[in-house]
């Protein structure tokens, strides 16, 4: 049954149309990028971009290159490090803000004032503060996911159906039991949503931080990563590798989100029954 469904989906009209559009996109890109060779006239914008065939060739060459995979590894390490820190600090903080009115009143306005400052604006301050560059990247990465996670946890916990709490209370549940068995599972879906969004932001921040700290003024030394890979390709003039880097980050980001979605699905089995 499941296989049949998958097959149906694979050969459906929608899949065909999607693939058609992507193929057309790639062809336009290829033709546009080679426009100078083909027509003797350089198309605006596209004419300056490396063609997909060259990108693919360049990628083929990189597959066997350990330093390319080292970049993957470094970025993943930073993303998951920063993300894990954001979860570990953000979830309890969000829950505590939701449960304790006094703490909420004190911390939420401050939180709301700091939130509009884009995480990347923290980069220089972070570099000054943290002893190593690695730590400063980690801090900015953490910040990226942190706000989203806290806001989602807080929103989820505050919108719990009051009747759930009252029902539990009238059955003699203790405060701790209500927290553990009602508040926590009721907030879980928003935690999952918050982390998925947070994961996307984390990738954005890591790439940027790697580019700024690696390629910017601070003199490199942050030790690679896919963002640095792109930047050094740009500085080194190998434009195909820029696109390879972009696609690699896209793939990496997609898989991290997918991983999170699957994990979230396992944690919230009751949502699937809807």
């Amino acid at each position: 049954m499941a296989i049949k469904k998958f097959k149906d989906k694979l050969f459906s009209r929608a899949t065909f149309r999607g693939i058609t559009a992507i193929v057309i996109f790639v062809i336009i890109w290829e033709v546009g990028a080679r426009s100078e060779q083909l027509f003797g006239y350089r198309f605006p914008f596209l004419g300056l971009v490396p063609p997909p065939s060259d990108v693919l060739a360049s990628w083929g060459g990189l597959i066997g290159d350990p330093s390319y995979w080292q970049s993957w590894y470094m970025s993943f390490l930073r993303v998951f490090g920063g993300f894990a820190a954001a979860m570990i600090i953000g979830i309890p903080l969000g829950l505590f803000m939701a449960v304790n009115r006094t703490f909420y009143g004190m911390s939420f306005p401050t939180f709301e004032i700091l939130r509009p400052i884009p995480p990347l604006a923290w980069v220089p301050a972070s570099i000054i503060f943290w002893p190593t560059q690695e730590l400063s990247i980690a801090f900015v990465t953490f910040l990226g996911a942190f706000y989203t996670i806290v806001i989602n946890v807080l929103g989820g916990a505050r919108s719990i159906n009051k009747q759930f709490l009252q029902a539990a209370q009238s059955m003699g549940a203790s405060q701790w039991d209500i927290f553990r068995r009602i508040v926590l599972p009721a907030t879980l879906p928003s935690i999952v949503v918050g982390s998925a969004v947070g994961m996307g932001i984390t990738w954005e921040v890591v790439v940027a931080a790697e580019m700024i700290s690696g390629g910017g003024s601070s003199g490199g030394g942050a030790g690679g990563g896919l963002g640095f890979f792109i930047w050094s390709s740009y500085v080194g003039g190998s434009y195909e590798q820029i696109v390879v880097g972009m696609i690699s980050i896209g793939i990496a980001g997609y898989f991290s989100s997918e991983l999170l979605r699957q994990l979230g699905g396992l944690l919230t089995p009751w949502l699937k029954t809807r």
């Binding site: 009747q163 029902a167 009238s170 059955m171 003699g172 203790s174 009602i182 879980l188 009751w270 809807r274």
Partner: protein
């Protein structure tokens, strides 16, 4: 009336005589929400008694303070004035002795049917063999044994309500409070639920307090019927419903006694609508509209 019953109640496994006197008395309660220009009297000088071992049904126009009264009796909120006592002791907060079944199903969506039923005992640290057995027994009782590992979302409306009844009964409450529990069910499932619930009640005749806006539901279920006024709410009339138990839908529907009561209740509610029209309630405006057309 049930004090003579000697044998144990089949489903709660509890001696019926134990709970002989759980009476709730509300005296002169007032409750206002909001402040300043938004202050709104919801309950004003309201007194009534929920007699022990009887099924008391409260009926009133929708949007009147019935849900507020439930919050007060359950102890989730406190009245601004007046007292509510249970067996003479004032009610100060939520307690195990009074259990509330809510308007929309409040089954925890993240727990299976069985876990939902077991919630009460587990929350109190009574995750014992006896509780588990009782849970199984109740699952059977409400006909959900095949659905014990399903989540609430996978159950039909009627099944959800039955699961919720079981979740309440396992805690052996002295008083069961039901806030329009069958609202939102389609009429056919609703009638089946009436018979079902009446059957459960007739088995051990606990003190039950049932709030509704449905006249037929009220008359079919009630031993005593409290008719409430529109906002601000107080008790308008009390009618003893003397239709013999056990009741069946067909019997009650066809009885002339039920029809008489229905006419009486409709008249009272109509008057309420007329009175509160100047209060500006939209629901009341609807009433007035229709009733005045009927009269003219």
């Amino acid at each position: 009336m049930s004090t003579q019953v000697k044998e144990q109640s089949a489903f709660s496994g509890r001696d019926v005589r134990e709970q002989s006197a759980s009476e709730i008395v509300a005296t002169g309660i007032c409750k206002t929400y909001g402040a300043g220009p938004f202050a709104k009297d919801v309950v004003r000088d309201c007194s009534f008694t929920i007699e022990s071992n009887k099924l008391t049904v409260m009926i009133g126009p929708s949007g009147c303070g019935k849900s507020t009264l439930i919050q007060l009796i359950a102890g989730f909120e406190t009245p601004d004035q007046g007292t509510i006592t249970m067996d003479g002791r004032p009610i100060t907060g939520p307690g195990m002795d009074r259990l509330v079944l809510f308007q929309e199903s409040a089954l925890f969506p993240w727990m299976t049917t069985y876990d939902n039923i077991m919630y009460g005992p587990r929350a109190r640290g009574e995750d014992t063999k006896e509780s588990a057995e009782l849970a199984e027994f109740l699952l059977n009782k409400v006909g959900l044994e095949a659905f014990r590992d399903k989540y609430p979302q996978q159950l039909s409306g009627g099944m959800q309500r039955r699961a919720e009844l079981a979740r309440a009964m396992i805690n052996k409450p002295e008083v069961m409070i039901l806030d329009e529990p069958f609202r939102g069910l389609d009429n056919m499932s609703k009638e089946l639920m009436w018979e079902y619930y009446a059957g459960l009640y007739e088995e051990d005749r606990n003190t039950n307090f049932f709030v509704t806006t449905d006249i037929d539901e009220a008359i079919f279920l009630a031993d005593r019927l409290l008719i409430m006024t529109n906002l601000p709410t107080s008790t308008r009339a009390v009618i003893e419903i003397d239709i013999p138990r056990p009741r069946r839908i067909e019997d009650v529907v066809n009885s002339s006694r039920a029809n008489e009561i229905k006419k009486e209740v409709m008249t009272l509610l109509h008057e309420e609508a007329m009175k509160s029209f100047s209060g500006g309630s939209k629901a009341a405006a609807d009433f007035l509209d229709a009733y005045s057309k009927r009269a003219g």
